[in-house]
């Protein structure tokens, strides 16, 4: 039989191993995607244009193309801090991080998708993996006011949020998922993938039907801006940054099914009305990539599409920034 003391020492050995595992996870995830974005911010303190958004902006905004089109010197050009699979909460945190670390942008280009400006941000602890790990890295207590969690998940978050094995568990799980996918692919035709994942999966992020989207747009047209979005615009306004809100380029099917509806037009008009106090300029770029071959999956621009988008927005802002509001 094992004695109580031996059991205690065995548990202590386990605790040391778990501590070592935490150090291992922290080391292996030191260059996770959100950390790379943060690092990019630190390297770009002289940037005068800040691009923010989710993966649509991460894939679509090319700094050198924009700088060249906007006739900006590289050192004082644009920095793209867009983060794939991020919500407006992470985008707000990245803006705050950039401002806190010496970036003084004159212009913020903020790309949005569908109804993200109005939808309340809700998470479960299960969702908070991958790039959402930024919610653990940057001002976790401050950010909590902008998204809701169940009581159980909130407790879990408050207890474990600074433990590497918890905050970066998604980075470990994704490796297993990639392995699982490669094993499941054996003997089957290769599926198209890109920097964000399996290309076909992104159609799952589109609204289920035109009717559902119409209803959601109609409802959203009665809502204020989501709190993190309003806060992002407020803080940018306070820092004297001109904000340009960009309705991101979409494929023909997305535009015809969702954006060419009365409800969407009403919604975007409503959003523009809400933006007046922040002097935000609105650019409808949804049809800038009219050819579907400029997309590499149902949502994200290809490299060629990104070049066209970045060039056009650069030219637009270099021309007469004050007149951006009504240009489409």
């Amino acid at each position: 039989m094992i004695t109580r003391q031996q059991l205690g020492w065995t548990a202590a050995t386990l605790a040391v191993c778990v501590l070592a595992m935490n150090l291992g996870v922290a080391y292996l995830t030191r260059n996770s995607v959100p950390r790379r974005v943060m690092h990019h911010a630190l390297e770009s303190q002289s940037a005068r244009v800040l691009a923010l958004g989710n993966s649509l902006m991460a894939a679509g905004f090319e700094e050198p193309v924009f700088d060249s089109a906007a006739a900006l010197p590289t050192r004082e050009g644009a920095v793209n801090l867009s983060l794939g699979a991020s919500s407006p909460v992470e985008q707000l945190l990245l803006l705050r991080y950039a401002l806190a670390h010496g970036i003084r942008p004159r212009v913020l280009i903020y790309g949005f998708y569908d109804l993200q400006l109005s939808e309340p941000v809700q998470f479960s602890a299960n969702d908070m993996i991958g790039n959402h790990a930024l919610l653990y890295y940057l001002e976790p207590s401050y950010a909590r006011q902008f998204y809701s969690l169940s009581a159980h998940d909130s407790l879990e978050f408050s207890v474990f949020h600074s433990i590497p094995m918890f905050e970066d568990r998604g980075a470990v799980w994704s490796k297993v998922e990639i392995l699982r996918r490669s094993m499941a692919q054996q003997g089957l035709a290769q599926q198209t993938t890109n920097q964000f994942g399996r290309a076909a999966d992104f159609s799952l992020l589109e609204p289920a039907s035109t009717d559902a989207f119409r209803q959601d747009s109609e409802a959203a047209a009665q809502l204020p801006l989501a709190p993190p979005v309003a806060e992002l615009f407020r803080q940018a306004h306070e820092a004297s940054i001109d904000v340009v809100l960009v309705e991101m380029p979409m494929r023909t099917s997305h535009r015809s099914r969702f954006y060419e509806t009365k409800e969407w037009n009403d919604y975007t008009s409503h959003v523009q009305e809400l933006l007046r106090p922040y002097s935000v300029k609105f650019v409808d770029a949804s049809s800038w990539a009219a050819d579907d071959s400029l997309f590499e999956d149902p949502l994200h621009l290809s490299q060629r599409g990104a070049t066209i988008f970045s060039q056009r927005i650069g030219e637009l802002l270099s021309a007469k920034p004050a007149q951006v509001a009504d240009l489409h």
Binding site: V172, E177, G197, L205
Partner: protein
């Protein structure tokens, strides 16, 4: 057959099913380092594979 039976006993022993190791298995219950490492290995395996219910659409992290 005897070897298979021995492996079965080893597995039962390290899984906690039986308290005594089979003849020839050197690790006793008093070997705290082995059992600490064994539990840590099990914890690591559970940790690594516990994300399978997560829905991965984005996987660029």
């Amino acid at each position: 057959m005897a070897q298979l039976l021995w492996v079965q006993h080893v597995l039962e022993y390290i899984a906690g099913e039986i308290d005594s190791p089979p003849d020839g298995f050197p690790v006793r219950l008093t070997n705290i380092v082995f059992w600490g490492l064994w539990w840590a290995a099990l914890a690591a395996i559970i940790y690594i594979f516990s994300g399978q219910s997560s829905k991965f659409i984005y996987i660029d992290f």
